[in-house]
């Protein structure tokens, strides 16, 4: 998607700085030198293109800076930005599916993730969102997301379970 960059009409976040203040809030210093505290970084395409188009909004949700490509951000600022984004995202990656009750909806899933084993409820098969031929996002009844990065990496049993839904 980097070939899209040339015809972009949006200013990429050049001169801006990021830091934390003593209350732990994220502070943005924009190109005019103004300080905005309590800003929030948001990925515009968290699934399709997480490394591009990161928007930094103020507490009211107004956009202050739109970063087109993280590569173009100075390493120090980028570090802060990526840490902050990582702290906001809780998407366990499913490594193994242990058990699924498939006969009735909602179905109960027992899985092993990169953040440890867990169990959750899926309302229906519609809550499994296919992202690509080999990856999928599961959204449980509480809105928590679980990512299956690559079904080919899973064991045979997990693949058989998923085959029903994908």
């Amino acid at each position: 998607m980097s070939d899209d960059n040339e015809n972009s009409t949006i200013a990429t976040g050049g001169g801006f700085g990021l830091s934390h203040d003593s209350w732990g809030r994220l502070v943005l210093i924009d190109s005019t030198g103004r300080r905005h505290s309590g800003v929030e970084p948001v990925r515009a395409f968290p699934i399709a293109d997480p490394q591009h188009w990161i928007s930094i909004c103020d507490a009211e949700g107004r956009e202050l800076v739109l970063v087109e490509d993280l590569e173009n951000v100075p390493p120090a600022v980028r570090q802060v930005l990526e840490d902050e984004l990582a702290r906001r995202e809780f998407v366990p990656h499913v490594r193994r599916i242990i058990k699924v009750s498939t006969d009735v909806e909602p179905s109960e899933w027992e899985v092993e993730t990169d953040r440890g084993p867990t169990r959750f409820l899926l309302n229906s098969g519609d809550d499994i969102r296919r992202l690509s031929p080999f990856s999928a996002l599961l959204i449980d009844v509480h809105g928590t997301r679980y990512l299956i990065e690559d079904t080919r990496q899973l064991d045979a049993h997990s693949r058989r379970v998923l085959e029903l839904y994908l």
């Binding site: 990925r43 699934i47 107004r62």
Partner: protein, 770 residues
């Protein structure tokens, strides 16, 4: 004019005249008289179907009431003035300023009246099929004395031979005259062959496998005869027998059975594969065709019916092809081969065996028609049922709000009863038919036993031969029995196929031109030239003339039902005009390829429709290859960017049927971004802000103001205040333009717009004061 063209044959109207009328009309016209228009009324005074011709020439108006009498009459060159009395089947009125023609159309009946200063001179009545032709006659009558050259040019290009209605360039058939498309009169199952052709290789393989499997299946039975005659019977009779050949016979039988199994497996798989492809292709073809049909088609169809045709009907065809058709082909092969073997063994016995066959054939023929009618009935009942579902499920909020669940259940139950009833009728037919075939089968076996015993007693055949016959016949009649079931299945599939072909045979009423003109880069100048539009018998638009400059913003106002939405639908070419033409940059829009033309048009509707998918996909709906930067830019311009960022998945959030539910204003801003992204030359805003509150309207308005810049815009709005930025306002009333002008200019006047504005002000005041 007279000296140049003495014959009437050169006029365009003349060419369009039907062959029936042409010789009769020729005798009526004087030398040098030019036929300008004609109109064939199709009812008489007492509203019975009859043919009445009205001719408009450059000299007079002629009415031919009796076509037969007209044939014998010739008229003197200078049609005597004042000759108003009916003369032998025709009447005539020379042109004079006091003559007026008037049209009335009401409730599917049209009346054309001719008046002069003394009163009514003549009346013609006609059905709505003649509406356009009547309008045309009146138009030309009123335009007498103006330049005739235009008409000639017009006539030379366009005219339907049936009714004289002008045709679009490249349009070969008149939409008013051609009713239902003529479906090829072959069985719809045969027409499925078109879809099988693509998979010819696999079909051929399947056929070869089928023949071999059937042949292999016959071998074990055939081997029974030598086993009986050469081994078992001699042994029973106390003769010394060579049991050494028995294993060979048995091995042969086993081998043939295994071969038949393997071949049958291959055959079933191959043909099921082909059936799945055929049904799949049929579904895709039907859906692709459906997408090409105009809005008019969808307006008259129920969603449930279409879904059931595309869904369950194609599935039924697939099931038939993969299961029943396979059996059927196998059965036919088996029957033919068995019959061959039987005749080879003993022609006389074989002839007796096949005795019940013609009777079964006759029975099948009788039953087939009954079943076909039954299944047609069933198919319609099923559509009815699906329609109830398609109605009720999206409208569930209304159902619940009015506490009408019970009624909907009742409606569903009634539709369901209908299905059951229809199926009962079919079941009654074939439940009788199936066992009857079984009975005939038994009869066939009985015949063989009787003749077999008789023949054996006469020593004409041996026991081995008889047992082979019996074995073959068991098979034979078992096949016949399954074929009788096949009759029902094939009729059901034929009806399903017919229902799918119904869609495929429908000719789009908005026709693609045969040789489309390239649109190129359009400027966006729109000219509505004398356009008229009818929906059924209702005239929605009439004689609308308007030129919109490139980049101009036009506000369309008027009461509900005044034809505003129809007008923009015509500009979008969702429908085609009934009369006149719409030109963009001087070219008739009917000569552009439809999809190429629509790429230049952006539409924002009152109820934005978002498809199931991500927000990014919805914004990029008109240009799927748009880059993310462009999507963000469009969303920002439409004031949608920031609320999208607040969603959990940003631009990747799912919208549509499920997923993130957005508010009306948010959905509208996404649809504005969608229109912005395709960067259209022409923009249509159809009540874009009327379904939202004032606060949201202000937000949307901001986005809209950005959107209209530099584009030819036609905006419809109920709230007149939202059209303040329009360059000109066009006020429509009952399908006609009644006022055109700038906002302030119109306000100062006392016309329709000033009245509308006043009414809205009063409403607003009424709302404000308690």
């Amino acid at each position: 004019m007279d000296d140049v063209t003495p014959t009437p044959a050169n006029s365009g109207a003349w060419k369009a005249l039907s062959d029936v009328w042409r010789p009769r009309t020729a005798s009526l016209l004087a030398p040098g008289e030019v036929l300008l228009a004609w109109f064939e009324a199709d009812l008489d005074d007492r509203l019975r179907y009859a043919s009445r011709l009205v001719l408009l020439t450059d000299r007079r108006l002629v009415a031919v009431d009796d076509p037969e009498a007209a044939k014998q009459l010739a008229l003197s060159a200078n049609g005597a003035a004042g000759n108003l009395a009916p003369v032998g089947g025709f009447r005539q009125w020379p042109h004079q300023p006091t003559l007026t023609l008037r049209l009335k159309e009401l409730g599917g009946l049209g009346t054309l009246e001719l008046f002069d200063e003394t009163g009514r001179l003549a009346v013609w009545r006609y059905t709505p099929t003649r509406n356009s032709a009547a309008h045309r006659l009146v138009q030309r009558f009123e335009g007498l004395g103006e330049t005739d050259g235009d008409w000639e040019a017009e006539d030379a290009v366009l005219a339907c031979p049936g009714c004289g209605v002008p045709l679009a360039p490249d349009q070969t058939e008149c939409a008013a005259c051609t009713g239902v498309s003529a479906a090829p009169n072959v069985s719809s199952l045969v027409r499925l062959g078109r879809f099988a052709r693509r998979h010819f290789g696999m079909v051929a393989v399947g056929f070869v496998l089928s023949v071999s499997a059937t042949a292999a299946g016959l071998i074990p039975t055939y081997l029974t005869m030598p086993l009986m005659n050469d081994v078992l019977i001699p042994h029973q009779n106390g003769e010394a027998v060579n049991f050494g050949v028995v294993p060979w016979y048995l091995a042969g039988m086993a081998g043939a059975a295994i071969a038949a199994w393997l071949l049958g497996w291959g055959r079933t798989y191959t043909l099921a594969w082909v059936a799945e492809r055929i049904a799949g292709d049929l579904r895709t073809a039907a859906f692709a065709h459906l997408q090409k049909l105009s809005l008019e088609f969808f307006g008259g169809k129920r969603t449930g019916d279409l879904i059931s045709r595309l869904g369950s009907d194609t599935d039924r065809i697939c099931f038939f092809l993969s299961v029943n058709f396979l059996d059927f082909a196998g059965d036919i092969l088996m029957i033919v081969m068995t019959a061959g073997v039987l005749f080879k063994l003993d022609p006389a016995l074989a002839a007796f065996t096949l005795l019940p066959l013609p009777f079964i054939g006759w029975l099948v023929h009788r039953v087939r028609d009954r079943l076909k009618r039954g299944f047609q009935h069933g198919g319609r009942a099923w559509s009815e049922l699906t329609s109830v579902l398609a109605d009720t499920i999206p409208g569930v909020r209304v159902v619940k709000a009015f506490a009408q669940e019970r009624r909907e259940i009742e409606r569903f139950r009634r539709a369901n009863d209908h299905v059951i009833h229809a199926n009962d009728r079919v079941n009654a037919t074939w439940s009788f038919f199936g066992p009857l075939v079984t009975l005939l089968t038994e009869a066939g076996l009985l015949v063989i036993w009787a003749f077999g015993v008789y023949y054996i007693a006469q020593n004409q055949v041996n026991v081995g031969m008889l047992s082979v016959f019996l074995l073959y016949n068991l098979r034979f009649y078992a096949r016949l029995d399954s074929m009788s079931r096949m009759v029902a299945a094939s009729q059901r599939a034929a009806v399903s196929a017919q229902r799918v072909f119904d869609i495929l045979d429908r000719v789009p009423s908005v026709a693609e031109p045969a040789r489309p003109v390239q649109t190129g880069q359009l400027q966006g100048q729109i000219e509505l030239r004398n356009i008229g539009f009818k929906y059924g018998t209702r005239t929605v638009l009439k004689d609308v003339n308007l030129t919109i400059q490139a980049g101009e913003m036009i506000g369309l106002v008027g009461p509900s039902g005044s034809g505003k939405s129809t007008l923009v639908n015509l500009v979008c070419r969702f429908y085609d005009v009934s009369e006149g033409s719409i030109l963009v940059d001087g070219t008739d829009i009917r000569s552009f390829a439809i999809d190429e033309y629509r790429q230049h048009i952006g539409v924002v509707l009152q109820e934005p429709f978002l498809f199931y998918g991500t927000i990014a996909e919805n914004i990029a709906y008109g240009r799927p290859n748009a880059s993310r930067a462009e999507i963000i830019a469009a969303a920002k311009a439409a004031r949608a960017h920031e609320f999208i960022l607040r969603l959990t998945d940003g631009y990747d959030s799912l919208v549509g049927e499920r997923g993130q539910s957005l508010s009306g204003g948010e959905r509208q801003r996404i649809s504005i971004a969608r229109a912005l992204l395709i960067d259209p030359v022409i923009l249509i805003l159809d009540e874009a802000t009327s379904s939202v509150d004032t606060q949201t309207e202000r937000e949307i308005q901001e986005a809209l103001d950005y959107l209209v810049q530099g584009r030819t815009t036609i905006a419809i709005a109920h709230r007149l205040s939202t059209l303040r930025r329009a360059d000109r306002l066009v006020v429509l009333e009952r399908g006609r333009i009644v006022e055109v002008g700038q906002h302030d200019e119109l306000l100062k006047g006392t016309g329709a717009f000033a009245r509308l504005h006043q009414a809205q002000l009063e409403m607003a005041h009424g709302d404000a004061s308690p």
